[in-house]
Amino acid sequence: MNERREKAQILDAPGIARAVTRIAHEIVERNKGVEDVVLIGLRSRGVELAQRIAAKLTEIEKATVPVGTLDITLYRDDFGRAATQPMVRRTEIAFSIDDKKVVLVDDVLFTGRTTRAALDGLMDLGRPRVVQLAVLVDRGHRELPIRADYVGKNVPTSHQEAVQVFMAEEDGVDRVVIYEATDTPGERARVTRAATDATD
Amino acid sequence: MRILIEGGRVIDPANQRDAVLDLLIEDGRIAALREPGSARGGGGAPPQTDRLLDARGKVVCPGFVDLHVHLREPGREDMETIATGTRAAACGGFTSVCAMPNTSPVNDNQTVTDFIIDRARRDGLVNVFPIGAISKGQHGEELAEIGELVGAGCVAISDDGKPVMNAELMRRALEYASLFRIPVIQHAEDAHLTGKGVMHEGRVSTELGFKGIPAASEAVIVARDILLAELTGSHYHVAHVSTAEAVRMVREAKARGLHVTAEAAPHHFALTDEAVMSFDTNTKMSPPLRSSRHVEAVKAGLADGTIDAIATDHAPHTIQDKEVEFDYAANGIIGLETAFGLTMTVLVEGGVLNVSQAIARLTCDPCRIFRLPKGTLSVGADADVAIVDPTREWVYDVKRSASKSRNSPFHGWKLKGQVLSTIVGGKVVWELEG
């Protein structure tokens, strides 16, 4: 199995922490507080991020912000086409999203397809007042008219490169890494797939 | 017409012969067996014959005799006719077949027997010996006109396809048949114990959830009939024996001097009930494929002569009768073209029989028990000869079968032992291409 070659580390642990802090402050500013704000993390590392942002929000505003997890596998647009079938995981949102200010949280924003699927999923679960998007990394190459409201770091990449976010809760370490472009399409597909839990 | 078969290993168990010899056929009869090369003149000049067959490295034996074949004509010509069935027989090295009476109409009277004999004379590639029914319409109630059937040419009687359930009728059939010195052939199963069963009752039927047919179904009828054979002193023959229990009882009956004989079909020594796990309806037949304990008993029975003959129970069925849900599929498979290959591959390669014994079970032994004037290469005998290669490997392709039907579970099997030429009455009726 070919090892992916790391091109560069774009965020380290302190960098991620600073991004989380800044995003939390921006959420407070934009929404004028955290009343009616809920965070919904997209599986799987978006969930960890959402929890960290929620913790930071609690620190800032001294109020609890509910966190839910959304699995978008059933809303993907590549059903039956992908090389391997992704595992369906549970959606767990223990509160109503009706009339709430939902902040979707994901680790990497790439083509925008994951966000599109997440919006479809959200609409089946209720009627939010507003939906905002927070991502740790925006790597460009949008294929749909989607944009993030809160961005940890903008990272220009070539399409063949891959961006991987590692979070301590799941991976034991906090870092964000770019992998080099690979030559073979199959390898590229494998690397792209492996880089995030879902193509986005 | 003179045919010389040169240099083959002539195996003629009836005459205890196994030697490399030249075989000369003249006017439809075995004319002579001579030292190899002796038919050639000085300097090795070829002899004066109409046909010269080079059998060097091959085996020359009597044409095989199948005691149990369903030719389906009259009535089900869509499945098989006497023409196509005898052609399949010739492909399999068979030069004589006994035709079971469960046609439509049933062969329970002279008219149908006459028809079969006439058709066979006109269209048949090999000799056809009709078997008449035991009971009228095979309903198991009243005896058929057995005397007339024998007079018309039937060599045995049977209600095959069905058992004779009524013991009194079986007794009377045995008694009456002894007048004509013909065997009474029983398709041995108890219709009630079998019920709606579709496969052997055992571990496999338990796993598959199919209604099973216990071995006891065959055994109770064989047990009953042997007692009746003892009572009447008549010749009782068990068709397609498949269970260890029945083999054991036939062995004991023979040891006690009763006139009891038996045959087994190749599928009952080549396959077990495990084959049904594929749900392939070509593994559905009556009696069913049994578990390995019974298969071993059948092999042992063939080895020690308890089972006298290998008989195919060639049972053609149309695709629509077979390509349905297992419970609804017709019973039976074709078998004329694979019998020799299976016998060689499973029994001879498997060390159960040697080549000569195997040939005996296909030739002189069936003829001996049914008193048919065939199955030998004695000088003066009918020139029914098969030239075979017992070691040649080939793959059975059912799509190229001479039979009209395609219901065989052996499609694609690699077999060892192939028929090369078949001669009936001194005429080459079939030859392997290439």
Binding site: G80, Q85, L125 | -
Partner: protein, 310 residues
């Protein structure tokens, strides 16, 4: 590891990992039942045909709802009202359906192996919803799922299946599935209703229900059918109930935390007393609910898996 089979014809041929994948996927699917809008777009544009040669309300409805919640188009064919009555063969019915390009055909049929026949003929994924006395794989999977909800580790659990094992596809599938997951299985019933060679399936055999249920984690009761009486297999429902019925007295012999299951429909008062069926350890209704999740999981896995990419 994703799902790679074209069809689900039985549990016997599945590996433990495959069973685990179905159960895990069903866990995620179950959440959809708690939503207000019970619909996800995943199987949009896919066609599921329910081909039922035997009457069934619960299984067929379960498959229908499962398909619809996944946004598939679901068609129900019950053969009593179709050309099968005119003598159309299964093969021809299958080929006719094939020309309508279904993605999944769910078939229930009285003869073992019928789904296998269809699977050979059709490009569609075939799900066996019950073939004679052979298998009912979705039932066994939902039964395992239900047990796993209460007992997360299946390995080492003991189950007793009580009733007409001889004619039961639910029993066979459960025997295969439970053993695959490391459970120990005991079957119980009168000798006429236990297959003669049942122990060759690797299960224990018992003719006494008191002994059979004493130390097990799960008791699965099977429905006893009136038709079996006529066949000389046992004298009356009354006698069967007296000897093999699961009533409150017998429950005292079982473990206090035993799980009670039944594939349904139940004969109240025959094989199971109403108090037991409705009691605190009865999982009978959970089974129905989980049937939906399992069937959704299977429709998802079969239509999305590589097995369907021809």
């Amino acid at each position: 590891m994703g799902w790679t089979r074209k069809d689900l014809l039985g549990v016997r041929e599945l590996e433990a990992e495959e069973i685990g994948l179905v159960l895990d996927t069903a866990t995620s699917m179950k959440e959809i039942a708690s939503r207000d809008i019970k619909k996800v777009p995943t199987l949009r544009g896919k066609t599921v045909i329910n081909l039922f040669y035997e009457p069934s309300t619960r299984t067929r409805t379960s498959f229908e709802i499962a398909g619809k919640w996944l946004s598939a188009d679901v068609i129900n064919i019950s053969t009593s009202a179709s050309s099968v009555v005119k003598g159309e063969s299964l093969k021809d019915t299958g080929l006719t359906l094939q020309s309508m390009h279904p993605d999944v055909v769910v078939i229930r049929h009285p003869v073992p192996g019928a789904p296998h026949l269809l699977a050979r003929l059709l490009k569609a994924s075939i799900i066996n919803a019950g073939d004679g006395a052979h298998e009912h794989p979705t039932q066994a999977l939902l039964d395992l799922f239900t047990i796993r909800e209460r007992r997360p580790t299946l390995t080492g659990l003991k189950a007793a299946i009580v009733g007409d094992i001889l004619h039961s596809r639910v029993a066979r599938s459960n025997i295969f599935a439970m053993q695959k997951m490391g459970m120990h299985v005991r079957v119980c019933g009168p000798p006429t209703l236990l297959p003669r060679y049942v122990e060759s399936l690797g299960v224990e055999k018992s003719f006494q229900i008191e002994q059979a249920i004493a130390d097990v984690d799960v008791i699965m009761m099977l429905r006893i059918q009136r038709e079996r009486m006529g066949a000389g297999l046992f004298p009356t429902l009354r006698e069967y109930s007296k000897l093999f019925g699961l009533n409150l007295d017998r429950m005292k012999l079982a473990r206090p935390d035993v799980l009670i299951m039944h594939p349904g429909p139940i004969n109240r008062g025959v094989e199971i007393a109403p108090e037991v069926a409705d009691g605190p350890f009865s999982l009978i209704l959970d089974q129905v609910e989980n049937g939906l999740a399992i069937r959704m999981a299977l429709l998802y896995l079969l239509t999305g898996g590589q097995g369907t990419n021809n």
